[in-house]
């Protein structure tokens, strides 16, 4: 069943306009990889600060800075979502067969759900927090979960060419 869906996806995407465009030039792929790397640096770099502050570290960074840094996270994520989708459209069979890719996507979903959790349970309360004080236990959990999942995404992403089909 899943094999059939995967095959349908691969057959639909291969030969499509985007697929042909991505694979059409030798330079598109490296260019997108460069953008993907810049995106991941913005995403992970700012999340490192946000998550460590949520976990109660870096207390000389004010709580207000967490919201100020979010645009950098969004730019990084947006950049990588676009370039990542183009990779997938460019070579669907390779990614669909790659167990590393699937694990990476699972972790991205975990990280996004965790971000939603932050948005609902933590973000509204942050205005009341003292700017340089310790954080509540739930914020710590969410901070560490975010760091852990994005760390995994980074590692698995880099290992995609090496992991294969499991």
């Amino acid at each position: 069943m899943t094999d059939a869906i995967v095959e349908l996806f691969v057959n639909t995407v291969e030969g499509s306009v985007i697929n042909t465009w991505v694979m059409g030039s030798v330079w598109i792929w490296p260019l997108m990889e460069i953008l993907h790397f810049i995106g991941l640096s913005l995403l992970f770099g700012s999340l490192l600060v946000i998550d460590l502050r949520l976990a109660g570290y870096l207390r000389n960074i004010s709580i207000a800075a967490i919201h100020k840094l979010l645009p950098l996270v969004f730019i990084g994520f947006g950049l990588n979502f676009i370039t990542g989708s183009l990779f997938l459209m460019g070579d669907p069979a390779r990614y669909m067969a790659n167990i590393g890719f699937w694990w990476k996507m699972c972790l991205v979903v975990v990280a996004l759900l965790n971000a939603l959790w932050f948005k609902m349970k933590i973000s509204p309360l942050m205005a009341n927090w003292s700017p340089h004080a310790d954080t509540p236990p739930l914020a710590k959990v969410i901070g560490w979960l975010s760091l852990g999942s994005w760390f995994g995404v980074l590692l698995l992403g880099r290992l995609i060419p090496y992991i294969g089909t499991g």
């Binding site: 995967v6 640096s41 770099g45 490192l48 067969a97 290992l159």
Partner: protein, 267 residues
């Protein structure tokens, strides 16, 4: 003359072929009994290599490759298990193909420091073990995200963005960046050791190292100015002087290092 046949498992499209490719011993595939279901899977190209147990995979260390056309490359020299092999394999886009290898004449080239480095036990572990190279690459990308992410954040703050981060806290943020830098110096040395002779003559690599060196010097200059001026800047007084220009140069250098670094795999 030793001959053996190898099959490339993850025959990456030519535009993306790495210096090393993952490979497995082809004869092992045929030995495995294949049931009806497995056989059906085998015809399905993207499920093909599922039938091969992991332990039979190894890294084939590609030594010399040349692009024949946009779709074809010729591999002329590989290393496997510490031995050098000559081959004349043409690899096509993303396909599983046989490579026939024969032992190479190794006495023709004189040994250099970098050749000696490449044959150390550590370099061989990085280059030829199944996980050595990927582990180092994984660490290298985590370190990269830390260095570039944190240093660019610092630079953006100096340029005038992200105004709720105090200038005084930039030094502790930079410490995280330096931690990433350290991770990358270490993992980078491991990666370099496995392909030393190749890297020392490879323009994108030399360009990348130059940019990283300049970016590091720039980071030092910026921190010196933060140490002196942060308190005044936070209170709204004091002049920024040249530090904003340094921040722009720093961003450009790190972007350049990423671009050159990525191009290592392509040029």
């Amino acid at each position: 003359m030793t001959n053996c046949t190898l099959g490339v498992v993850y025959g990456l499209p030519v535009t993306r072929l790495r210096y090393g490719v993952n490979a497995r011993i082809d004869t092992e595939i045929r030995k495995r009994p294949i049931g009806a279901k497995a056989e059906q899977k085998q015809t399905n190209k993207f499920l093909h290599s599922r039938i091969v147990p992991k332990r039979e995979q190894f890294r084939l260390y590609v030594y010399k490759i040349a692009r024949v056309s946009t779709e074809l490359i010729r591999i002329s020299f590989v290393r496997y298990n510490g031995n050098s092999y000559q081959t004349d394999a043409l690899l096509h886009n993303a396909s599983v193909q046989d490579i026939r290898l024969s032992k190479a004449n190794t006495n023709s080239e004189e040994s250099t420091v970098f050749e000696a480095l490449e044959t150390t036990a550590i370099a061989l572990w990085v280059g030829e073990s199944l996980w050595g190279y990927p582990i180092m690459l994984g660490l290298h990308v985590v370190g990269l995200a830390m260095v570039v992410g944190l240093f660019v954040m610092r630079d953006l703050r100096l340029i005038g963005m992200l105004d709720s981060i105090s200038f005084q806290s930039l030094l502790s943020l930079s410490k995280l960046g330096w931690m990433g830098f350290l991770i990358n110096v270490i993992s980078g040395c491991f990666l370099f050791s496995s392909q030393a002779t190749y890297f020392v003559t490879h323009t994108p690599f030399l360009l990348k190292i130059t940019m990283i060196f300049l970016a590091t010097v720039t980071a030092g200059l910026i921190q010196q100015r933060i140490r002196v001026g942060a308190e005044e800047w936070d209170s709204g007084s004091g002049s920024f002087g040249v530090v904003r220009n340094l921040a722009i140069v720093s961003i450009a250098l790190w972007m350049g290092a990423i671009i050159a670094g990525r191009l290592i795999a392509y040029l």
